[in-house]
Amino acid sequence: MNAPTAVFIVLAAVAVVSSLNVILRRNPVHSAIFLALTILCLAGEFVLLNAEFIAATEVIVYAGAIIVLFLFTMMLLDIRGGMRTRQFQNQFGLAAPIAVLLVALLGAAVGAINISGLPAAALSTLQAAQLGSVQNLGQELYSNFLLPFELASLVLTVGLIGAIGLAGHGAEDREEQVRIEEALEFDTKVRAKEGGHLEPEEELVPAGGHHA
């Protein structure tokens, strides 16, 4: 085993352990930190695969921005209350056998892989060492992958519209919400009095609508 392989295995092991911790930790801040650690390990793997650009972007975007914003959000919330809730809900009895089955299936599938029998990936004529270089990546992105690249930018635009559109505009919105709730309550009462049958769901979930 040469040095890069050894480093690869170590990084992979750390990544697996820390990603397990992401879901097993009760404290969401700890989960976020393990997520960051996982991302760093993956970035390390990318470096070993000669994809330095992707490694750097991964660290900047995920570790540097997204997870920090996760933390930011968590700090605004009272996570200590959340830590008391049970991690495993009522579906556990149903979910566990399915999960075991899935793992078994995946294991069987992975075990069945005959690596040498698989066709080589459709790498272009580039050498593996140059594959991740910034120039080649840019060239590929703006030639063969131009369409998905542009579509991805539209996806981001839509996300932005959504963030602004769904965020609401403060007090004005809250007043409107109160009006809607009152109208709904009235509506529900009137209907109940008239003997109209109500679904149990309708009583639990406040039915939406519009102020008359």
């Binding site: 990936a121 063969n144 609401g168 609508g209």
Partner: protein, 479 residues
């Protein structure tokens, strides 16, 4: 230029967004006309491409062939009908016009590229463009808790499904070393198919797309999302993304994985039976018309899936093949479902909720034309001859019989009979009950013309089914 309709829709979406920011509040209803114009122009460019030789663009990422033209026609028709039904509802509830139309355009764009994709990468990005826009559409009534809930549920489950879908795609890439659909098919033809890896891949992809088309047991989000979303958005969700997801199913399972058809045919047959049976049984118990239609749309996913289970790749334009039957049914389904939801929006527009069956009391007297249209849609959804829904179901049943799955055909016929109960209940309520309520119904030339188009389509596609069936058959020549 192969992607001209898509370019028109992109420009439209951006233009709507910009004008929304610039225009003063009272001029914003003009955006409706702009959206209509944009979709009509795109539709014209699209139909112009019918029959021209198949092209490939952007390094094999998308293709322009009859299949694309067929689905683009479907999507643009959906968009036009939704734009026609939306203004009354949006104005009544003070929902933003600009955001609604531009998100609609972005979703339509995603749908168009989904149908056009000939590569896993562009396919996935297009699907994401579509669904993210739709998540937001579902939550657009941000002051209503129910709408928030709809958006959040749809988003969480949808994002999870996307992850499974992309995982399945990565397996497919791992097996074949290709992302191009045609090349994947080439590799699969050359290798043995009783491969556990391939079965795993089929399972993951089926789960991923199954979520998007709301197959049982991946349907749990549907009733809540449909009920909470603003009704025009619900109408769009029940038709557009579903049709696009079926296009993606065809692209993945026929174009790319056609050689593995024996592996997945039974799986889809079972899913289809599960879906239609459960959805129909649960739909009977609904008292909220939007939830009823949500379960109805799940049941219809089951019917449509019969086409894929009965598909015989290579059979091409065979009269009773599964794929043309599937596409024809999608075409029919679009008009009757959009029509039904438009009436829901119409009845709702003047009221706080207006979603229960009671709100349809005596509609036959209060609004005779609307009640006739609703009757038409309900009968067509049930599958009563000579309406479009009947022929759609007939072709699917024929295809199932033809591919040796008679039990599937029987299941579908039985389910249609069950569904008659809840569809006809609406008709009964409209004509055979009375009400003291004097709720004014909203008047909007847009929604009336939309209802006229949808009911005429539901009627004439049934009576003159042949040209439309040939349209669907012509679109499958690529397979």
């Amino acid at each position: 230029m192969a992607v001209l309709p898509e370019v028109v829709v992109t420009v439209l979406a951006m233009l709507l967004l910009l004008l929304d920011a610039v225009l003063p509040e009272h001029r914003k209803s003009g955006l409706t006309w702009l959206a209509l114009l944009g979709f009509v122009v795109a539709g014209a460019f699209n139909l112009y491409q019918w029959g021209s030789p198949a092209q490939s663009a952007y390094g094999g990422m998308v293709g322009a062939d009859n299949f694309t033209v067929f689905f683009n026609t479907l999507f643009l028709a959906t968009a036009i009908l939704v734009v026609l039904m939306a203004p009354a509802y949006l104005r009544e509830r003070a929902l933003p016009f600009g955001e609604f139309y531009s998100l609609l355009s972005f979703a339509v764009l995603g749908m168009m590229f989904t149908a056009a994709s000939t590569d896993l990468i562009s396919l996935f990005v297009s699907i994401e463009l579509m669904v993210i826009a739709v998540y937001i559409l579902a939550g657009l009534a941000r002051r209503e808790k129910r709408s928030n809930e709809a958006s959040l549920k749809y988003f969480l489950l949808g994002a999870f499904a996307s992850a499974i879908l992309v995982y399945g795609m990565s397996w497919l890439y791992g097996i074949t070393g290709q992302t191009n659909l045609a090349k994947i098919a080439g590799v699969l033809k050359a290798t043995s198919l009783d491969n556990p890896l391939l079965l795993m891949t089929i399972a993951l992809l089926a789960v991923g797309v199954g979520f998007k088309v709301a197959l049982v047991p991946f349907h749990a989000w549907t009733p809540d999302a449909y009920e909470g979303a603003p009704t025009p958005a619900t109408a769009f969700m029940s038709v557009g993304p579903k049709a696009a997801a079926f296009a993606a199913l065809l692209r993945i399972f026929i174009s790319a994985m056609g050689p593995a058809q024996p592996d997945y045919s039974l799986l889809f047959a079972i899913l289809a039976v599960l879906t239609m049976t459960l959805a129909n049984v649960v739909a009977i118990q609904q008292n909220n018309i939007k939830r009823m239609l949500a379960y109805s749309s799940i049941a219809h996913s089951g019917y449509i899936l019969v086409g894929l289970a009965a598909a015989q790749p290579g059979a091409g334009s065979d009269q009773v093949a599964g794929i043309p039957a599937l596409m024809f049914y999608l075409f029919v389904y679009t008009f009757m479902t959009l029509g039904a939801f438009a009436i829901v929006a119409y009845v709702q527009a003047g009221q706080v909720t207006g979603e229960s069956f009671d709100d349809y009391r005596a509609l036959g007297r209060r609004a005779p034309m609307t009640a006739i249209a609703m009757t038409l849609f309900m009968l067509s959804l049930t599958g009563v001859p000579p309406l479009a829904g009947f022929f759609g179901k007939a072709y699917l049943i024929l295809a199932a019989v033809h591919s040796g799955m008679a039990w599937l055909a029987v299941a579908m016929a039985v389910n249609s009979a069950i569904s008659a109960y809840y569809y006809l209940r609406v008709v009964v309520v409209m004509y055979m009950s009375d009400t003291t309520e004097r709720v004014p119904l909203y008047r909007s030339p847009f929604i009336h013309s939309m209802l006229a188009v949808a009911s005429l389509a539901t009627f004439f596609v049934g009576v003159f089914a042949d040209p439309f069936l040939r349209f669907a058959q012509g679109a499958t020549l690529g397979f």
